[in-house]
């Protein structure tokens, strides 16, 4: 038995060694920018970068939050929060009611509408940039929260996710509601919505990350620094031409930009994995 056990133990160690190597590669970039956000500018300008965090952590983060480069970072965090929550709540709201309509009613053109929503999967904002920008500008949506939110809230993915879930709700529930004379909307509020709680939460995680991480659209739609979101604002903090960047402040901003979505993923890991894997089915 000894050789077999020996091989087992060796395999066990190799498995952990391999996973640790993967974790190291995954987390190393985070460590580097964390160190960079905790040292002085001079330490970065004279490479190599120190191995361990410096003593200027609070100064750098305070400088970023209060002053930033073009605009205080707290303002960009606020803009990102409004945009991410607006996109998330908007997508959830319009998708859940349209999925309800498609599953629980029969009406002319039902399949036509279903396909009209489906084909939007094929139209990411990246492929229709210029005309979408012109439409938004025509409505006067430049530099507004409405402009950051509305063009991004149509979602085929969320509609399908809810449709799939509604199809698993037992027929008896709708039958009972109908026999009792409950209106469709009453059925929606009292039965469907409470039953969808876990699914809504799972999708909330995915959509919040999607909304927070938007880059190209905020880059086009916001021209005033006051409306910049943090993810697109970091690039605006790079110096133009030969100026020297304030790297510790820029790196502190990068950490602050990662923090909310990463906390959501780690804190709600179960819901996140459910939302990710179920919404692709």
């Amino acid at each position: 038995m000894r050789p077999a056990n020996g091989r087992r133990a060796g395999g066990f160690l190799l498995t952990h060694a391999g996973l640790l190597a993967g974790v190291l590669v995954t987390c190393f970039p985070l460590y580097i920018i964390f160190v960079a956000s905790s040292v002085s500018h001079d330490e970065i300008a004279r490479p190599p970068l120190p191995m361990f965090p410096g003593d200027r952590l609070w100064e750098n983060y305070a400088a970023a939050l209060k002053a930033g480069v073009n605009i205080p970072v707290w303002r960009m965090l606020y803009n990102s929060t409004v945009m991410a929550l607006g996109i998330t709540v908007g997508k959830l709201a319009i998708s859940i009611v349209s999925a309800f309509a498609i599953v629980y009613f029969r009406f002319p053109l039902r399949m036509f509408f279903f396909w009209a929503i489906f084909v939007t999967l094929m139209l990411p904002v990246e492929v229709r940039i210029v005309p979408t920008f012109e439409v938004a500008a025509g409505f006067g949506l430049l530099n507004s929260y409405a402009g950051l939110i509305f063009p991004l809230i149509a979602s085929a993915t969320a509609t399908f996710f809810f449709r799939q879930f509604f199809l698993t709700i037992p027929n008896e529930l709708a039958e009972a509601a109908r026999v009792d004379g409950a209106s469709p909307m009453r059925f929606f509020w009292d039965i469907v919505l409470p039953m969808s709680r876990t699914n809504i939460a799972a999708l909330f995680v995915i959509l919040f990350i999607y909304g927070w991480n938007q880059y190209l659209w905020p880059l086009l739609i916001t021209t005033e620094p006051e409306m910049n979101t943090i993810v697109m604002g970091i690039k605006q903090m790079f110096p133009s031409g030969d100026d020297v960047a304030d790297w510790p402040v820029v790196m502190a901003t990068a950490i602050l930009a990662m923090l909310p979505p990463v906390c959501v993923v780690i804190g709600m890991q179960r819901l996140f994995i459910k939302g990710l894997i179920d919404s692709e089915k």
């Binding site: 996973l19 109908r178 993923v265």
Partner: protein, 293 residues
């Protein structure tokens, strides 16, 4: 799939669909139609009037060496990203699948990059490898390696591909792990008892049973590399040097907003529309297949 029990209402379903349809029409269908329309016109240099040119924008596009080069760039880039992100994720998922306990800690440490925005991933990798300040570029220079992605196109491509793949590993890892955990353990044990080693079990049982997941991820990764990596490229290289990292999506942006060549940008949008359409059809056919699997 149809439901037997439905409600009767004449206007309510339209009312419920209205918000989604309005947003879809205003921000999806109308702009897509605009792109089709604009792709048949050329504006004068002052943007005062535009004249109908039919398919000339497309003809010009496919004769333009820069556009053809960006096609090639996109293929190389998405090939690199897909290869690295998928093989690394499969390797890690195979390892994590061997653990009975303790895979949660590893999972948490491996999946968080999913939440990092492509643009922030770009800033992070740019800082690590920026000549003069970067944490790793200094060691490369000390080792005698001529590292400067700002001037060297091949190095720029390697850097944007690495940053994009780093972010995508977490997604692939979760799907591979879910696929591996769905494989019946009895099959693997039976093969092990018959004397099949790890690689043999992998080649004859694991990989074939994992192929639907692999194919699905292949399509998702290509779509990711095509459309979701704008932030990475814009923050690290801005498409340079000499367009070495200008992908198709980056070129639509560069020509439409920086170069103000609306006709050409619209024609490029239409080409991309067909590409996304083809990829979505491939993905959809896969989903249909999976139902019968």
């Amino acid at each position: 799939m149809q439901r037997q029990v439905v409600f009767n209402a004449r206007f309510l379903p339209y009312l419920l669909l209205a918000p989604q349809l309005v947003v879809t029409c205003v921000f999806f269908f109308y702009p897509a139609a605009q792109a089709l329309y604009q792709s048949a016109f050329v504006a004068d240099p002052f943007g005062l009037k535009s004249s109908f040119v039919g398919f000339a924008n497309f003809k010009f596009l496919f004769l333009d060496p820069y556009y053809l080069a960006s096609f090639q760039t996109t293929l190389v880039f998405s090939g690199l990203v897909t290869l690295f992100a998928m093989s690394l994720a499969l390797w890690l998922a195979l390892l994590a699948d061997r653990l009975i306990h303790g895979d949660n800690a590893y999972r948490t440490l491996l999946i968080w990059p999913y939440a990092v925005a492509p643009a922030v991933a770009g800033v992070t990798w740019m800082f690590m490898f920026r000549p003069g300040v970067g944490a790793l570029s200094w060691y490369l220079e000390q080792a005698g390696y001529q590292w400067n992605y700002v001037l060297n196109g091949g190095q720029a491509m390697a850097l944007v591909a690495a940053a994009s793949a780093w972010k995508q590993v977490s997604y692939n890892f979760l799907f591979f792990l879910a696929g591996l955990q769905a494989i019946p353990k009895s099959l693997l044990e039976a093969a092990a008892i018959d004397g099949a080693g790890f690689w043999r079990r992998f080649a004859t049982i694991v990989f074939p049973l994992l192929s639907p997941t692999t194919f699905f991820l292949l399509v998702v990764n290509v779509i990711y590399a095509f459309f979701d990596t704008f932030g990475v490229i814009h923050t690290i290289t801005s498409g340079g040097p000499q367009q070495a990292t200008t992908t198709l999506v980056y070129k639509v942006y560069a020509d439409g907003f920086v170069g103000q060549d609306i006709g050409s940008s619209a024609a490029q949008s239409v080409v991309l529309l067909f590409l996304v359409g083809a990829l979505t059809v491939v993905q959809f056919r896969y989903i249909e297949k999976k139902v019968h699997y």
